[in-house]
């Protein structure tokens, strides 16, 4: 297998061919916040939190969706990048209705975690208080769109791992929303296998089990990667 060597914040790392910049950053032991990315799902580069600076050109590239190349040099923690990351998290909070105190995912929420990681304790941008829906038509699960950050992990896990493609995105811009089936109540979508993968990968409390109340959501965000390696490399958890 051919190997690429590159530097991350001045540190030399070697990654196998086909690895992403995010793999390289992690190989260097650097923590990079991510929201839309999840191991085992195809990258979309939408949340912009894992942006890194290419040292030579100064361009910003999403680490999750950029292939690592020989001789690349990336910077991950410039003051500018940290500033942008903080602003992106502020925009996420201002855009939805995120109230940790009574959220099912409180304490187990990746949006909460990145807010801590980037040092965002308040948003300077006015909250939009959008009027969104809650769909509790599914017998076991529910989706609260107020908490959705449109990372599309649910869309991708259902399409790429479960193969049911229950979820998709409708409309555009700030009007974007995750829809079930042909914009039907989730409970009416016959394609849904009730596998719960979307619950497991949701970074916030947007998709949750109905049995859970405040701060009780447990997510299993390793599930897509485990399933993928099981299928592709025949490596099983119990081996």
């Amino acid at each position: 297998m051919s190997v690429h060597t590159l530097t991350v914040d001045g540190m030399e790392v070697a990654v196998p061919e086909g690895a992403t910049l995010l793999d390289a950053v992690r190989a260097a032991g650097v923590e990079l916040p991510t929201l839309c990315h999840l191991d085992g799902l195809s990258p979309v580069g939408a949340c912009r939190l894992c942006l890194v600076e290419m040292e030579t050109s100064g361009h910003l590239q999403p680490a999750c969706a950029t292939a690592a190349g020989e001789g690349m040099a990336v910077l991950t923690q410039t003051p500018q990048l940290q500033h942008y990351r903080r602003m992106a998290v502020e925009l996420f909070f201002a855009e939805g209705n995120h109230v940790c105190a009574f959220c099912v995912a409180n304490g187990n929420c990746e949006l909460q975690d990145v807010a801590v990681a980037v040092g965002m304790d308040h948003s300077r941008f006015p909250y939009q208080y959008p009027n969104r829906r809650v769909d509790a038509s599914h017998p076991r699960f529910a989706i609260d769109h107020h908490r959705c950050i449109l990372c599309t992990r649910c869309v991708r896990v259902c399409d790429e791992i479960e193969g049911a493609h229950v979820w998709d995105v409708a409309n555009r811009g700030g009007e974007c929303s995750i829809i079930a089936g042909l914009d039907q109540p989730w409970g009416e979508v016959q394609a849904c296998t009730s596998c719960g993968k979307c619950v497991d990968v949701c970074p916030t409390g947007a998709i949750f089990r109905k049995d859970d109340t405040t701060a009780e959501k447990e997510a299993n965000r390793e599930r897509p990667q485990l399933l993928r390696s099981a299928r592709e490399q025949h490596q099983w958890q119990n081996q």
């Binding site: 925009l91 855009e95 995105v169 555009r172 811009g173």
Partner: protein, 551 residues
């Protein structure tokens, strides 16, 4: 036969003139010809594409050719504007020497609006009948495709394009020859050629005019491009808002297939090409190349991070050449006259000509093709005639907006800037696709910025957070300036957020969305400061601006 001059009336049948009633006018001309009889029967009445001065349609050109059937020279052509169907008999009578021409409607072809234009891309616009392949063939269309297929290797074609120095006319200005090489030199396998005709910038109608006026030239350019990069399948992605362009393009494709100029074994060579039209569904973002390709594949039209670029991995992961209408339409002329000829027009870094759609507060609105390096002042004041009813050194112009919602406003004092990619970029605007909106002195710049920001809010695809949520916040901030309730902190936040959205958005549209704000902040900062609730806190202001606020 040689004694009698041939008379030809060319009636504009493109969208601009059609909306001004050119269809009724043409019908009236045909009826009048039948009624008048005699000499009038020898007058050819032909629908053509854009005759440029769209603001004064319907336009009709009258050619008085010499008896030998040669092309009309400038002196033998008369141009008439704003004709009504009632004036049709008078025009015909005048043409045949039996009456007085409607002089009030007559335009001067020596006027700078016409005289300073250099038609290269628009060579056939207003000359050929866009619905007739025979007329297109008679004017030399497809001659270069035939020649290239028989005489040139793909490398030779790409070499001419490289020599021409042609750069992408969609806005970004990437060297076309380099892009063609990148596609051609990918590992063997299928390739695609795509024409981006999803022209969405407000105030831009260059591509529409080309599609409606001379579709065969575009098809020829695409076929040559496909040959040069080794593609056998291509798509023209046109926005649904251009029904006439789609209709004429589809007709042209059918005609070209019928003549063996598309399909298998084109013009007796071994080259095959299938071309199809794909119609967009009303998303501005689908003008972004990766979103456009996703849309062609039947997916949601959202961009994806690049690299890989479409030249490496495009449609169905195959190398894909994607060029704008104007770029591809330049190709036949470049091959006919040679790359060096094309490179002799324009400036050092920007070769050839550029088509602009001139609109807004300007006397002469319409389609303008000028050599690169022409100054904005020439385009706006000499060709455009400045703001109607205004005078002064800058002709009442306050600013010129180029590049649509991705571009910026260039203030009147910089009108002497030559039009080329680098100069416009240095001013914080961009070449863009060619929309040129002139703004008069009464225009409020924060309002202009808000207008474009609202456009970006509506047209953001919603994939990445800086564009989806950032533009919403920017629009709210701009509301505060337009409503004169902003604070100094808002001004700081506005700049900070503009920088962030520009630096971190996923695609070019998000990255360029703050440009209208940033460029107006750069040249008209006082208007923003004056809009603060407490202007005294701002940096020292012009007395006149303060007066305006207190008034």
């Amino acid at each position: 036969m040689a004694a009698t001059p041939q008379l030809q009336l060319r009636c504009c049948a493109a969208s601009g003139c059609r909306s001004a009633g050119s269809a009724a006018l043409q019908a009236a001309l045909l009826a009048a010809r039948d009624q008048l009889g005699g000499a009038a029967e020898a007058v050819t009445i032909k629908p053509v594409g854009c005759l440029r001065l769209c603001g004064r349609g319907p336009l009709v050109a009258l050619d008085r050719r010499g008896g030998d059937g040669q092309e009309p020279s400038a002196g033998s052509t008369e141009l008439y504007a704003e004709l009504t169907p009632e004036q049709a008999p008078a025009l015909l009578a005048a043409a045949t020497g039996l009456g007085e021409a409607p002089t009030a409607q007559r335009l001067d072809p020596a006027h700078p609006f016409f005289a300073l234009q250099k038609p290269v891309v628009l060579e056939g616009c207003g000359v050929v009948n866009p619905e007739s392949i025979d007329d297109a063939l008679a004017h030399g269309t497809y001659a270069q495709l035939r020649r290239v297929l028989l005489e040139c290797t793909p490398e030779q074609v790409r070499d001419q394009v490289k020599r021409s120095g042609l750069r992408g006319r969609g806005g970004a200005g990437y060297p076309s020859g380099l892009k063609w090489d990148t596609v051609a030199l990918q590992p063997p396998g299928p390739r695609y050629v795509v024409c981006n005709a999803d022209e969405g910038d407000p105030g831009a109608f260059m591509d529409r005019s080309v599609l409606e006026s001379d579709p065969h030239r575009l098809i020829e350019g695409m076929a040559i491009a496909a040959y040069a990069v080794g593609a056998e399948q291509g798509y023209v992605y046109v926005r649904a808002e251009y029904p006439l362009a789609i209709e004429r393009l589809r007709l042209a494709l059918r005609q070209a297939r019928g003549k063996g100029l598309l399909g298998s074994g084109i013009a007796g060579s071994s080259f095959n090409l299938r071309l199809e039209v794909r119609v967009g569904a009303g998303a501005y973002v689908c003008g972004e190349e990766t979103a456009l390709l996703a849309s062609i594949q039947g997916q949601r039209g959202t961009p994806r991070p690049r690299p890989p670029y479409p030249a490496q991995k495009g449609l169905w992961d195959a190398p894909t050449l994607i060029n704008n209408v104007e770029t591809l339409t330049s190709i036949p002329v470049i091959l006919r006259e040679g790359g060096d000829w094309y490179a002799s027009i324009g400036t050092e870094g920007s070769k050839g000509t550029k088509v602009f759609a001139l609109s807004g507060a300007v006397a002469n609105t319409g389609l303008v093709e000028v050599p690169m390096g022409t100054t904005l002042r020439t385009v706006v004041q000499t060709i455009g005639g400045g703001v109607p009813g205004a005078d002064g050194p800058d002709g009442g112009v306050k600013a010129v907006q180029t590049g649509g919602p991705s571009g910026g406003c260039i203030p009147a004092h910089l009108l002497d800037t030559p039009v080329d990619y680098e100069s416009l970029k240095a001013l914080g605007s961009m070449m863009g696709s060619g929309g040129l909106v002139v703004m008069g002195e009464t225009t409020s710049m924060p309002e202009v910025a808000r207008h474009f920001m609202r456009f970006s809010v509506n047209e953001s695809c919603g994939k990445c957070v800086p564009c989806r949520a950032g533009t919403v916040q920017l629009a709210h901030l701009l509301d505060r300036f337009v409503e004169r309730r902003a604070t100094l902190a808002d001004l700081e936040r506005l700049e900070e957020l503009c920088t962030m959205v520009g630096a971190t958005s996923l695609c070019g549209l998000g990255q360029a969305a703050p440009n209208p704000v940033l460029s107006t902040l750069r040249y008209f900062r006082q208007e923003y400061q004056a809009a603060c609730r407490d202007p005294d806190q701002c940096e020292p202001l012009d007395a006149c601006v303060l007066q305006e606020v207190t008034r």
